[in-house]
């Protein structure tokens, strides 16, 4: 099995996991963190392998990574830091 097929299968499994959390309504703080983590991993796999950014030096590779981290962190803060 080639590298891209393995990545695709991992992406599908992570998607199934995310869907399962939502479908079974298993959304505690811990599973919310897991959901964010799987989203990050999926995004990073797409950027690195499908977009081919793993083979690129420096800043162009890290822009999607920074985008994913900042977006998901801000979403996490919005969901779990209470309003004053």
């Amino acid at each position: 099995m080639d590298k891209f097929t393995k990545i695709w299968i991992v992406l599908l499994l992570l998607t199934l996991f995310s869907f399962g959390l939502g479908w079974l309504k298993l959304l505690s703080l811990g599973s919310f963190a897991l959901l964010l983590l799987t989203t990050f991993i999926k995004g990073q796999l797409i950027a690195d392998y499908f977009m081919g950014l793993k083979e690129v030096q420096g800043k162009y590779r890290f822009i999607p990574t920074i985008w994913l981290v900042v977006t998901l962190l801000l979403v996490a803060l919005a969901y779990y830091v209470p309003l004053k």
Binding site: F4, L12, M51, Q57, Y79
Partner: protein, 196 residues
């Protein structure tokens, strides 16, 4: 002591212009995602209740379709890079056709979702959750539509042997756009359909 040369390239695959567009799109959608999350804080119950009206299965199937479509595009590029032109074009053409098929089913499912919601009397002005839902998913829908047009053009050129192992920049440019559409959905799906 010998220095090992870094084999990594300076720039991403495809035309550099597409990467400027990709980064701008990521920023734009990122602001929408964060806007959605912070708007939810003002009325968590409303957002959670409205989210229950969405079909998570449709969102899940659409995620699988986009991921598979992206994978098919990767396989098309791999074929062009590794095989002789005649065989490469034939295989890449088929992969691209598969990718377009997946994209088409995505669009049909999304359209059915939109129509279903309108038939239930739910639209942009129903509440803040659905305003974000329609804005985000319709904006993304338009990106998929544009991606499909791009894929069709790539398919047409591949069919006539327009890409070779040494000249496939156009294919990589279009593919990068398609992967971006996938990347955006990867965040959009859990945010809109699952997180609560």
């Amino acid at each position: 002591m010998k220095t090992i040369r870094n084999s990594k390239t300076l720039y991403p695959a495809g035309d550099f212009g597409i990467w400027i567009i990709i980064y701008i799109e990521l920023l734009t959608f990122g602001l929408f995602f964060v806007g959605f999350a912070y708007s939810r804080r003002a009325d968590v119950e409303l957002f959670n209740a409205s989210q229950l009206l969405l079909d998570q299965r449709a969102g899940f199937i659409n995620t699988v379709l986009l991921l598979t479509s992206s994978y098919f595009v990767v396989k098309a590029i791999e074929a062009i890079k590794k095989l002789e032109i005649k065989e490469a074009s034939q295989k890449a053409k088929n992969w691209l056709l598969g990718a377009m098929g997946m994209g088409s089913i995505f669009l049909v499912i999304k359209l059915m979702e939109f129509v279903g919601k309108y038939q239930e009397g739910i639209n942009l002005s129903t509440n803040k959750f659905f305003m974000f839902y329609f804005l985000l998913t319709m904006f993304h829908f338009l990106h998929v539509l544009l991606g499909m047009i791009i894929l069709f053009n790539l398919y047409q050129k591949t069919k006539i042997g327009g890409y070779t192992s040494t000249d496939h920049r156009g294919l990589e440019t279009g593919a990068s756009y398609w992967h971006m559409v996938d990347l955006l959905w990867i965040v959009l799906f859990p945010l809109i359909y699952i997180m609560r």
